[in-house]
């Protein structure tokens, strides 16, 4: 019991500092790391060799994440300097003036789509500036896409998280996909209403009951059908794309924001005349990103060619004085030219050329784009380095294992209720659905076998809980705050997100029990 509370201490400290004292992620992460290091050395028997390798592993994880943050922020600066963010922000009210509807299209469907093709934190990093351009507060601009993309994480990023779960457990997709896809497709509905509620409160929820239901039906059905098919790796992407397609007619019908459907199809509104060419140029940066991501990830020869240069380190087996063993194996694999950060960089360079050709830049634009960028991303970079190091030290010293086992033993027969929370805990600590699945997948599988319940359903709860709770991870929040210009205010975002996330995880718990009846 003492070990359990010791293992919990660094996470509790971060939560208290960020939510209770409103510290930024850089300070709270440093405090969490120092406490984790102290506890790992003095109570879990972590020696110097183990710690050295743990820090090297953490560096790979941190670089993996930072590559995306830096590249996403550069894309944002290139688009912003060209006036693209402002143009998109001015154009969307022509489609719909309804704030809730705007949040649904951009923060739910578009965020899910970006999660489908992109990776860690990309939806929030890309969408937050667009929502700010639309007039949303920076806080809501981070909160809305965070809530909106959580359901699409597990089958997003071209299925990397789901693939990781299958790899560590040896369970085939034929068995795992039905409960996992079903659970997440249902959770999609709650994320939709959460987005609308965050954007406009209960009035918006009442006003947009029908559009949310229609969009959910389309996105959820596509996600479920493709999730259980052989092309499960594009389930998140296809669901997001379907959501965008169905959102267009819905937005034109719910365009007024007065709660009444509108049939007026004109392009002129209270916001003036829509400049289609300017909008097309403004959107070109993000269109390039989508085309490049799809091309590189889906076309095997391109993917193989760019994936030739890989940064990867092999680590030897190490163990703590308490006997917790970390088996030998390769660390985080970073395909340098096929990485999400690399794709963002290619898109940024091409977008810059397109904007320059279109005459969007004034003299001295490159200098303005780069100036201040390093300063803006530094706080985020520090917090990512601290928090990832904390997570890996905890994992390698056996603290994470102690936490999970403690939770499992405390719950006993009610374990299915806690299974999504264990996944969520892993994602909160590491900021990644994939990492959570790697850390807790085998443990959840073993617990299900011991309790004699469906392994597939418990693993579905693991990946669903991890995906849904990953939006609350400090490392992921930092990605959003860095592009929304509110670095250091991550505690505010966490306070706003925590209620929604707890509610969604509670629903995941109930759904897990219900699905156990269907797949006993």
């Amino acid at each position: 019991m003492f070990s359990f509370f010791l293992a919990l201490a660094p996470i509790a400290l971060i939560i208290i500092l960020m939510i209770g004292f409103r510290w930024g992620a850089a300070r709270a992460g440093a405090a969490g790391y120092l406490s984790a290091l102290f506890i790992a050395i003095f109570f879990f028997g972590a020696g110097p060799i183990l710690l050295a390798y743990a820090h090297a592993r953490a560096l790979l994880f941190a670089l993996d994440v930072l590559f995306i943050i830096w590249a996403a922020f550069l894309l944002y600066r290139v688009a912003d300097e060209a006036g693209a963010i402002r143009t998109i922000g001015q154009a969307l009210p022509h489609l719909t003036a309804d704030r809730g509807m705007q949040a649904l299209i951009i923060g739910w469907a578009f965020a899910s789509f970006l999660q489908g093709v992109g990776g860690f934190g990309v939806p929030v990093a890309v969408i937050a500036p667009i929502l700010i351009g639309l007039g949303f507060t920076p806080l809501l601009a981070v909160v809305i896409p965070s809530l909106g993309h959580g359901w699409a994480v597990s089958f997003g990023s071209l299925g990397s998280s789901y693939q990781a779960l299958m790899s560590v457990t040896g369970i085939s997709t034929d068995v795992l996909a039905p409960p996992a896809a079903l659970l997440l497709s249902i959770a999609c509905l709650v994320t939709g209403y959460s987005v609308v509620h965050a954007a406009g409160g209960w009035a918006a929820v009442r006003r947009l009951v029908l559009p949310v239901l229609i969009m959910w039906f389309v996105m959820g059905s596509v996600h479920l059908l493709i999730g259980v098919s052989p092309i499960w790796n594009i389930a998140g992407f296809c669901a997001g794309l379907a959501g965008l397609l169905v959102a267009y007619p819905l937005a034109r019908r719910w365009r007024s924001g007065d709660g009444k459907p509108s049939n007026s199809p004109g392009e002129t509104s209270d916001y003036g005349i829509l400049d289609r060419r300017a909008l097309a140029v403004a959107l070109s940066g993000y269109t390039i990103l989508i085309i490049l991501t799809l091309g590189i990830q889906i076309i095997p020869p391109v993917s193989d060619f760019l994936g030739q240069v890989v940064i990867q380190i092999n680590f030897p087996e190490v163990s703590t004085a308490a006997g917790y063993v970390i088996p030998a194996g390769a660390g985080r694999k970073i395909p340098l030219f096929r990485h999400a950060g690399a794709i963002l960089t290619y898109a940024t360079l091409l977008a810059y050329l397109v904007y320059r050709k279109a005459g969007c830049y004034k003299p001295g634009a490159p200098k303005r784009i780069l100036s201040g960028m390093v300063e803006r991303v530094m706080a985020s970079s520090v917090s990512i380095a601290s928090m990832v190091s904390m997570a890996v030290v905890m994992e390698n010293s056996g603290m994470t294992e102690t936490l999970a086992r403690g939770l499992a033993e405390a719950m006993g027969w009610a374990y299915p209720l806690i299974a999504p929370w264990i996944g969520g805990l892993g994602a909160f600590m590491t900021g990644s659905n994939t990492n959570s699945n790697v850390v807790f997948g085998a443990l959840q599988q073993r617990m299900a076998e011991l309790l004699g319940i469906s392994v597939a359903v418990i693993l579905a709860a693991q990946t669903a809980g991890a995906g849904l709770a990953s939006v609350l991870a400090p490392t992921k929040i930092v990605v959003g705050t860095s592009t929304a210009g509110m670095a250091g205010r991550e505690g505010e975002v966490m306070r706003k997100l925590i209620g929604y996330t707890v509610l969604i995880l509670l629903l995941a718990s109930l759904l897990t029990v219900m699905i156990l009846w269907i797949f006993p």
């Binding site: 440093a30 820090h55 090297a56 917090s383 190091s389």
Partner: protein
């Protein structure tokens, strides 16, 4: 104390850059030291990594 706090506030970027630099460079050196099982160096480098975090913690 207040003077120190003000100094950290006015030099936030420099302090965070130094902290980040320490957190990026020391793990590489730790890996090399671990391969040679050079325990003393690992403790020194862990200390430097900790200093990086203390610097991050010091910026209000």
């Amino acid at each position: 104390m207040i003077i120190l706090r003000n100094w950290f506030t006015t030099h936030k970027f420099q302090v965070q850059t130094l902290a980040f630099g320490l957190m990026i460079v020391t793990p590489v050196l730790m890996f090399i030291a671990a391969q040679g099982e050079d325990v003393v160096w690992i403790w020194v480098l862990l200390g430097l990594f900790g200093v990086g975090n203390l610097l991050a913690l010091s910026v209000p």
